[in-house]
């Protein structure tokens, strides 16, 4: 399965998003709004995307987004909670992710053994993921199984077991996951070191999966606290896309979810990360074949004005074979096997990373100098109209590609709703990208990519003993 979408555990894709979230949205009347042409988008009549979305909020605060789509007789069912590693504390790092695993280990009506079996027997596939800011669960089901899935999701939203025995074996599973993603994976180690180097105050400094020591030490009470606090209807967004009748599904949702009580959410005020005043270096020596490095800068949070221009700057710098870095490092100089750049915006802050994987046997200095030079050019010279146009087209194309399947549509709606407070940002963000000028790019590059603001994280082969 080659789904392109992978925000999973600090995936790095262009975020289409924004703003602080109102944790307890007020009940709003149902609105049905087909979205037409995307305003301001190169004036092409043919670029129309129409998604007749219905959104409403239950009395208990559950936000619901429905989109009928009869392409195949299936439904994509997404339940996302506004809780991630940003809600953790030192000592319980990775708790949000551990809880995600425990959501498959049984609740009051459906026990742990039954969960996967019932999904399987009914032709349903399911999975979940955790990020820094949110946790998502999803199923792809034959449309006839909608009520069954609803019953199961309500059960685990309201009365999860978290038994000590299940936790014991599942902790071992998560420890294997950590070894697989991080400890036995040099690029995973590099990423973990990068986040720890860039952030000193914000919870983004620890990995979404958590530290091994903390994983070892979770107990049911710690996880239950997270569950009771955050797995409440007023902290969740439910998105259904597929083969159903909106009116019928709406009453089913009221019937199943309406009985769940809402609960006040704690106010979580995170400390602000003080500005970085001096360049930071971190180096990791491992038994690897080649050197790699990332030059990383703190960038602004999701939805901030500067995010749009920085996303496009990163695109021009290092997205695809036509990017400036690929041309210089991979194609012309032939010293790297790959070069990339991204701007990953989260709820509290972002990371703009510029990375290079060297060919075996080569040091990093020449490539570093080229990266510095390319970043300097972004700060001091305007990008060409053609490059800017290309970057904007790529953003538009990524959006269109993400909407190919029911599952893709549901993800796009959910991620926008949960991080910006409205799924409509999926479309309005495009206008903001379209409005970015070459001057804007120069301005944000100047603001965020100075030498004192950068962190250089390097992975190097250990010297071999002969």
């Amino acid at each position: 399965m080659k789904t392109r979408f992978s925000i999973l555990l600090l995936g790095l894709c262009i975020s289409l998003t924004a703003q602080a979230i109102d944790p307890t949205p007020n009940t709003k009347p149902e609105v049905k709004e087909p979205l037409g042409a995307i305003k301001g988008w190169t004036a092409q009549d043919s670029l129309k995307i129409s998604l007749p979305v219905t959104k409403f909020v239950l009395d208990n605060g559950l936000t619901v987004i429905l989109l009928e789509d009869h392409a195949v007789p299936m439904v994509s069912y997404h339940t996302w909670y506004r809780v991630g590693s940003r809600d953790e504390y030192p000592g319980v790092t990775g708790a949000a992710h551990m809880l995600e695993h425990m959501m498959f280990k049984g609740a009051k009506k459906y026990d742990g053994k039954a969960f996967d079996r019932i999904f399987h027997e009914n032709g349903i596939t399911n999975n979940a993921f955790t990020t820094n800011d949110y946790t998502g669960f999803y199923e792809n089901l034959p449309s006839s199984k909608l009520e069954l899935v609803m019953d199961m999701e309500v059960d685990r939203m309201s009365s999860l077991s978290i038994s000590p025995e299940d936790l014991k074996s599942e902790k071992e599973v998560v420890k294997e996951e950590r070894r697989w993603r991080v400890d036995n994976n040099p690029m995973g180690l590099l990423r973990e070191l990068m986040m720890g180097t860039m952030f000193k105050v914000l919870p983004y400094k620890w990995p979404v999966i958590g530290y091994m020591k903390d994983i070892d030490n979770y107990d049911s009470e710690k996880l239950r606290f997270f569950y009771n606090t955050f797995y409440v209807p007023n902290n969740a967004v439910l998105v259904l896309v597929g083969d159903f009748k909106t009116s019928k599904v709406k009453s089913l949702i009221e019937k199943y979810y309406g009985k769940l009580p809402s609960r006040a959410l704690p106010e979580r005020k995170l400390l602000t990360e003080p500005p970085q005043k001096v360049q930071q270096n971190a180096i990791l020596r491992k038994d690897v074949q080649n050197s790699s490095f990332v030059v990383a800068f703190r960038s602004p949070e999701q939805g901030s004005q500067d995010m749009y221009a920085l996303d496009l700057a990163a695109n021009i710098l290092g997205y695809g074979t036509s990017s400036r870095l690929h041309k210089r490092l991979v194609y012309q100089k032939q010293i790297a096997t790959s070069a990339y750049a991204y701007n990953y915006a989260m709820k509290e802050a972002g990371v703009m990373g510029v990375g290079v994987n060297m060919k075996p046997g080569l040091g990093t200095q020449e490539a570093l100098d080229i990266v510095y030079n390319e970043i300097w050019k972004l700060r001091n010279q305007k990008v060409s109209d053609k490059e800017l146009e290309k970057a904007k087209t790529q953003v538009m194309k990524d959006l269109v590609d993400s909407l190919k399947t029911m599952d893709g549509k549901a993800r796009a709606l959910a991620v926008n709703e949960i991080v910006t407070g409205t799924y409509e940002s999926l479309f309005t963000d495009l206008e903001k990208y379209q409005a970015v000028t070459a001057d804007d790019i120069k301005k944000v590059a100047d603001k965020y990519t100075q030498q004192t603001q950068r962190s250089i994280i390097t992975l190097e082969p250990k010297a071999k003993k002969e």
Partner: protein, 469 residues
């Protein structure tokens, strides 16, 4: 993430599939057919062959403002000589590194301007080239795609550059324990058969390839009568005409038949340990030769495997992951190919439990092969395959890929239209008989890749040991 998305979809074909009736209600353009029966019909498509032998599938899909082109070349590393291993991959990657009228940077820029890239995927049996664009760029896309596939320049400098990239890639593979273990398993299982080697070749093979080799390989196998093309998206009749005109210029040639050396037979349980100091986790692979895609037991084996190791509810996942907490991921699959492929179980665990994980895995697999599945679990597996089938043809791109793949294997399209009926009709006895017929519970080859300290855990298997510096 709870667990890895299991890529159980079998390579080149069809995880699953059928479409629903809604698309057939719309007006069907002239020449298009909507194949199927009862309430299930495939989205309408048109199939034709050009005079030069190129088969073309058109699927009009106006749900999104985009167009895609997929070219499947019925050639892979199977047709390259072992002494020039990597020839097909190198040839395919070179397509986007320069044509008679565009250099490599121009091609990159042109695709970039479309918001797109070109996706070249060399395989053992077949090689695909895919590109797409927003509808506003559909004409330009066609021009560019045709140029890249039909007029490659194969310049010396580009060959040197790509060869060096591929050599670096081969060397770096060892840093990814999972794909390194996969490669080592293939090699161990298939021996000198081309399925045993990396698609990107070997260092010796790559170094031996000349410009003449590349040109000859391209002229011999990258021919319209050895290829098929799928055109998908929001286009009209004029576009179909243009596609036909453009690709009619490609000249056909006789395609030679190349035969490969047979894979070695397996005699008993053979364990190979590959150890590298400092690894934090051990990769475990258990394999046996499997079937070709065209095997008549294909669907029965797919169904049977679904219950063994195809999902989170499978026996392997329930036992090794959920009950014992030994791994984050375990699954089994039949890797079906043009010729006989493999059956494989893939998992990983901490070094301390490497031996135990292999033992438990073998127990589950052997027990399943010997005794087969129960009625209830097979019923669940049937529902799973049927329930998820629509996703395989949910988008026009996916339907197109299935049409190309079926055509490649010479399997009629009723594989799709009769899928549900056929899966529903498989009895427990049939499923059990076929897995028992194709797998031997005592003849497995095993590759284990972990830290040196795992060695004592495998003493009883008398393993072959290979050390990696």
């Amino acid at each position: 993430m709870k667990r890895i998305s299991l890529a159980i979809t079998l390579p080149l074909i069809c995880s699953t599939f059928i479409a629903c009736s809604s698309s057939s209600k719309k007006d069907i353009p002239a020449g298009y057919v909507s194949k199927g029966n009862g309430s299930f019909k495939l989205q309408p498509y048109k199939e034709l062959s050009l005079d030069n032998g190129l088969k073309v599938f058109f699927i009009r899909d106006n749900s999104l403002p985009r167009v895609s082109l997929t070219l499947m070349l019925k050639t892979g590393s199977v047709q390259e000589p072992a002494a020039k291993a990597g020839l097909n991959a190198l040839t395919s990657y070179l397509l986007e590194q320069g044509t008679q009228s565009r250099d490599a940077m121009r091609i990159a820029d042109d695709f970039g301007q479309l918001g797109s890239g070109i996706d070249i995927t060399p395989g053992a049996d077949a090689t695909t080239v895919y590109a797409d664009a927003l509808i506003t760029g559909s004409d330009f896309l066609l021009d560019l795609f045709a140029d890249v596939t039909m007029n490659p320049a194969f310049k010396d400098g580009e060959i040197q550059r790509l060869r060096s990239q591929m050599l670096a890639g081969l060397q770096k593979k060892i840093d990814n324990p999972s794909s390194y273990a996969d490669d080592q398993m293939d090699q161990y299982l298939f021996g000198a058969h081309p399925y045993g080697r990396d698609i990107n070749g070997t260092p010796e093979g790559l170094k031996a390839i000349t410009k003449q080799d590349v040109i000859k390989h391209y002229l011999t196998f990258y021919r319209p009568n050895n290829a098929s093309l799928a055109v998908v998206g929001n286009f009209n009749e004029d576009y179909e005409k243009k596609v036909k005109e453009v690709f009619s210029k490609w000249t056909k040639r006789t395609i030679p038949v190349v035969t490969a050396e047979a894979a070695p037979a397996i005699d008993g349980l053979k364990v190979k340990l590959i150890v590298k100091k400092g690894l934090q986790q051990t990769q475990v692979r258990v394999a046996q030769l499997g079937i070709a895609r065209s095997d008549e037991d294909y669907l029965r084996l797919r169904l049977s495997n679904e219950a063994l190791g195809g999902s989170f509810a499978s026996r392997l996942n329930q036992k090794v992951r959920d009950d014992l907490g030994l791994t984050y991921s375990i699954y089994s699959y039949f890797d079906v190919r043009k010729e006989k492929g493999s059956f494989e179980v893939s998992t990983f665990t901490k070094n301390e439990t490497a031996g135990k994980t292999l033992e438990e895995t073998l127990k589950v697999v052997s027990d399943y092969v010997t005794k087969g599945s129960q009625e209830a679990e097979l019923a669940g597996a049937r529902n799973q395959l049927i329930g998820q089938f629509p996703r395989a043809i949910e988008t026009a791109d996916r339907l197109a890929y299935n049409l190309l793949a079926l055509d490649f294997y010479g399997i009629p399209v009723d594989y799709l239209t009769n899928f549900n009926k056929n899966v529903a009709g498989i009895s427990v006895k049939e499923a059990n008989n076929s897995i028992n017929k194709h797998l031997s519970p005592t003849n497995f080859k095993v590759v284990v890749y972990g830290d040196e300290k795992i060695i004592p855990q495998f003493e009883k298997y008398k393993p072959e040991i290979q050390r990696v510096k």
